[in-house]
């Protein structure tokens, strides 16, 4: 599973970071520092929760 962020949509709500700060790091201004990452095993539920929690719908999952 891969999770990616559309940086053009990210507005720094940090709701993803609230779900899992390691999976969804922020830059020092509070915007997603993710780009695209492989989701470690056991964190799939967190990844899905974060995607569903983003008000800007900036996150996508590739299974």
């Amino acid at each position: 599973m891969r999770v990616s962020v559309d940086k053009g949509r990210c507005q720094g709500h940090a709701r993803c970071h609230a779900v899992n700060p390691d999976l969804f790091p922020l830059d020092d201004v509070g915007f997603s520092a993710l780009a695209s990452a492989e989701v470690p095993p056991g964190w799939e539920a967190d990844a899905r929760a974060a995607v569903n929690n983003c008000p800007e719908m900036a996150l996508t999952i590739e299974e």
Binding site: D28, G30, N52, N53
Partner: protein
């Protein structure tokens, strides 16, 4: 002088340009001598078909003459009286004409006068303004839910000194989301609200990208999650002190004794000003944000408070210029934009925004939170026994008790969100209805403490997303933690009037009286 046919043709072409197909062609005629954008009169379609078509009306000279006479009569004969709605329509008398949901637009010319056509079925709520609506003021959220259910999109023909344009209310989550993300069509520039006129510009909330972006880039680092997290111990200490001052009283008015004081004291610490002036600050907030139109019809009280806030903040800025510290004002004073420092207007506008944006809002949310937990014992007991749920509870309070109503103006005519908008029209999007939209949230009308996911937009979406959201969340979480640590059981006295105030931009509670088993304990 065009014929009725030519006018109708022109009008259909106009409608086709915005993508609509008119099914009834009515002529709306207005006296140009007054040069007023308000409708002098309207002739509308009756779905029961008891009004004859315009063609019939126009081609009948006596009727036309009477219609013209009727139409040039002064505004006081305007049929905006809702009790006329059910009377049988007759084109021969002003009282016989039926005002209905489908209205008329201005698009052409006929006999030297403006003539028009309505091509939409967006309903109209005559004279509706959320800050003046009695149902909203009396009931709050259930009234918003009813509006969402009955007319998720509607037009209001409310007019004021400051606006002659139409107002579109868009209540659905999907529409609110679209509006707030489309900053080029829905602009924040200028007077964004029909009734609100102020000489003080909030920077950058009253700007659009790309200008908005330049200032926003300066604010983001100052209120970033990392910066805010660093402030947690100091914020918690402030909160603890406030709660402990109240604890032994056994009663308080949450709004005045705690909810407004807490974020204000935090803000004063952020500014590096002594908190002895707390009551002055709170006074300014009240005068700037809480004066009603009745108390302050010219806005003089509000303007005086706004001026005081500006002068105070600019005074601090001057001090920090010569004596910089590690605080937000110092950082802003040292910022550069396009290679130059911020000027007085920019600093004033940004500091004014920072001053006002985080006080009333956080205070209202705290009021709503404690009101909710006072009235919902099982939710309260859950957060007392499981304080790790408080973060999630804060999100659900933000969703369920959203307080902000956002306003924009339309920059280009055309169909948007199902409405035939004209350039200059106002759009009002209440976050409360978006956040209670059953199409966006399962069980939207219920408060679910550990709701997940919770994609609420209480802090907005798009480039104007509340820059203080991280601070607000921290303050709410800390306040609920500290309060319940010390006062876990409390209630609202019977027949307490919470004084709901539906403001133009923010809905607030004026008072939340609470009682608990407290008072001085012997031996402590």
């Amino acid at each position: 002088m065009s014929t009725a046919d030519e006018t109708k043709k022109a009008v259909r072409a106009q409608a086709a340009r915005v993508g609509d197909v008119p099914n009834e062609c009515w002529i709306n005629v207005r006296d140009e001598a007054t040069d007023c954008w308000e409708t002098a009169y309207e002739v509308v379609a009756n779905t029961r078909g008891t009004i004859r078509k315009a063609a019939d009306v126009l081609l009948c000279p006596p009727t036309l003459t009477v219609l013209m006479i009727v139409i040039v009569l002064p505004r006081r004969l305007r049929l905006s009286d809702t009790r006329k709605r059910d009377t049988a329509p007759s084109p021969l008398t002003s009282t016989g004409l039926n005002m209905m949901m489908n209205r008329i637009d201005y698009v052409g010319r006929h006999d030297g006068r403006r003539a028009g056509l309505r091509v939409t079925d967006v309903p109209v709520r005559h004279g509706f303004m959320h800050s003046e609506d009695t149902a909203l003021r009396r009931e709050g959220y259930p009234a918003w839910e009813r509006l969402l259910h009955e007319t998720p999109t509607f037009e209001s023909d409310y007019r004021s000194r400051h606006t002659d344009n139409r107002i579109w209310y868009l209540l659905r989550y999907e529409d609110v989301y679209s509006v707030l993300r489309n900053t080029s069509l829905f602009s924040s520039v200028g007077f964004t609200h029909p009734d609100y006129e102020s000489e003080f510009l909030m920077i950058p909330s009253e700007m659009d990208p790309p200008e908005h972006t330049k200032y926003r880039t300066l604010l983001n680092p100052i209120l970033s999650p990392t910066r805010i997290a660093e402030m947690e111990p100091a914020i918690r200490a402030r909160c603890r002190r406030l709660v402990e001052e109240i604890r032994d009283r056994g009663e308080c008015d949450v709004i005045n004794d705690f909810a407004l004081r807490f974020p204000t004291v935090v803000f004063m610490d952020m500014l590096g000003v002594p908190t002895d002036d707390l009551d002055t600050f709170i006074g300014w907030v009240h005068q700037s944000q809480h004066t009603s139109h009745a108390d302050d019809p010219d806005g003089r009280i509000r303007d005086a408070a706004d001026r005081a806030i500006h002068e105070f903040m600019l005074g601090i800025a001057e001090q920090r210029r010569s004596d910089p510290r590690e605080d937000i004002v110092s950082r802003l004073v040292q910022c550069t934009l396009d290679g130059r420092p911020l000027d007085r207007r920019e600093l004033g506008g940004m500091l004014y925004l920072l001053f006002l944006a985080g006080l009333d809002t956080v205070a209202s949310m705290l009021g709503w939170s404690l009101m909710h937990f006072a009235q919902n014992a099982s939710d309260r007991s859950r957060i007392c026994t499981q304080p790790e749920l408080i973060s999630s509870a804060v999100e659900e309070v933000l969703r369920y008790y959203s307080i902000v109503v956002i306003s924009r103006h339309v920059t280009a005519s055309g169909k948007a969100q199902g409405c035939p908008m004209a350039k200059g029209d106002r759009v009002i999007v209440p976050l409360a209805t978006a956040n209670r939209d059953p199409e966006a949230f399962p069980d939207a009308g219920r408060f679910v403490l550990d709701r997940s996911p919770n994609r609420h937009i209480a802090f907005g979406v798009g480039p104007h997303r509340c820059v203080g959201s991280h601070l607000a969340r921290l303050e709410l979480r800390v306040a609920l933690e500290e309060w319940h640590r010390v006062i876990p059981e409390y209630r609202i006295p019977e027949s307490a009037d919470l004084g709901l105030r539906v403001g133009m931009f923010v809905t607030s509670l004026q008072s939340v009286p609470l009682r608990w088993a407290g008072g001085p304990v012997l031996g402590r």
